[in-house]
């Protein structure tokens, strides 16, 4: 066995642990936004928004935290291969919530307690935007 050169070792290291195949796509979708001034909400707790790893779970709860607002969503699989998103904003306020999807955007207004619902949403990439008078909040993209 001959001794591997530096270049050979580095090439072998580069082969280990490649990024997920959809990472570029997820990033590009997330940054396609028009509102790049929005505050980025961080995922709190374990990431369940994955691309398939947790696909067996029928319901996933995901929480995003921004400085002045928390967005929690529960993604429920429907029998017809679509999903429903039940969401809450804390503190509760009747704000506009936008669901960005690759094909189009949908917008709803949360009720006074901060609850909102998007129903019949297709699986795939999605991103949430909350429009508030004190600034917008955007989440990273998630895979529904």
């Amino acid at each position: 066995m001959t001794s591997p050169s530096d270049d050979e070792l580095l090439a072998a290291i580069a082969r280990l642990d490649r990024p997920p195949a959809d990472l570029d796509e997820r990033v590009l979708f997330a940054i396609e936004l028009d509102h790049i001034d929005a505050e980025v909400a961080r995922l709190a707790g374990p990431a369940y928004a994955g691309s398939g790893a947790r696909a067996a779970e029928r319901t996933r709860t995901i929480t995003f935290e921004a400085s002045r607002r928390t967005v929690m969503i529960t993604v429920v699989d429907r029998a017809d291969d679509l999903v429903r998103i039940d969401g809450w904003l804390a503190p509760g306020a009747p704000l506009e919530v936008e669901l960005r999807l690759p094909a189009a955007s949908r917008t709803v207004v949360a009720d006074g307690a901060g609850r909102f619902v998007f129903d019949e949403v297709p699986h795939g990439l999605a991103q949430l935007l909350v429009h508030a008078s004190d600034g917008r909040v955007v989440t990273p993209s998630l895979v529904l």
């Binding site: 642990d17 490649r18 997820r26 980025v40």
Partner: protein, 189 residues
């Protein structure tokens, strides 16, 4: 053209609204940022999330970046910071006794086993994981960046510029030594 000049040009064009340059920038730098996040001990899912968050932050601050050529360093630094915060949040949410000590020596999560189809890749991973944090982080980055800009890497890792080359050499020598001492590495050739 060196990598940093090329990436700096892409950033300037992205700043002027050129989406294609932004796509290329993402494509070029995503593997590095992924490795940086993984090197901080994040799971694949958390690392993917941190990489996205980092890009969203870059977009927000696109006009604040004074030196476009420093975009690689900016992104690596931001990814490390996001990874650290992500880990703090993860630790907070986990039941305790999960071992801070254990985390301190955790070489980071292994790649999915099924991806290591080559037996020698498995041997390499095992030894790579035993290198120091600094070695793993530095080698991961230089393995991904072609024509690396050592000044940028040095500043983002908080290392003196002149020490990158020697450290890289020392880390590779250490890895080589471990591999050559392992009969399963030589035997599989």
């Amino acid at each position: 053209m060196s990598a940093d000049v090329h990436l700096g040009d892409l950033l300037e064009r992205a700043r002027d609204g050129d989406r294609e340059s932004l796509r290329e920038l993402v494509h070029e730098l995503n593997p590095v940022l992924w490795r940086v996040a993984r090197g901080q001990g994040l799971s694949a899912e958390d690392a993917a999330d941190v990489v996205q968050t980092t890009w969203l932050e870059l977009l927000r601050r696109l006009h604040e970046i004074r030196s476009p050529r420093a975009v690689t360093a900016w992104l690596i630094t931001a990814t490390r910071r996001e990874s650290w915060h992500r880990q703090q949040r993860g630790r907070r949410d986990r039941p305790d006794s999960d071992g801070v000590l254990e985390a301190a020596v955790d070489p980071g999560p292994p790649p999915e086993q099924r991806l290591l189809t080559d037996e020698r890749d498995e041997v390499l991973w095992r030894h790579f994981a035993r290198l120091s944090d600094r070695c793993r982080e530095l080698l991961s980055i230089v393995a991904e960046v072609h024509r690396p800009d050592y000044a940028a890497i040095a500043s983002s890792l908080g290392m003196p510029h002149g020490s990158i080359g020697p450290t890289r050499g020392r880390c590779l020598a250490k890895l080589r030594e471990m591999l050559l001492a392992d009969s399963s590495w030589g035997g599989a050739s």
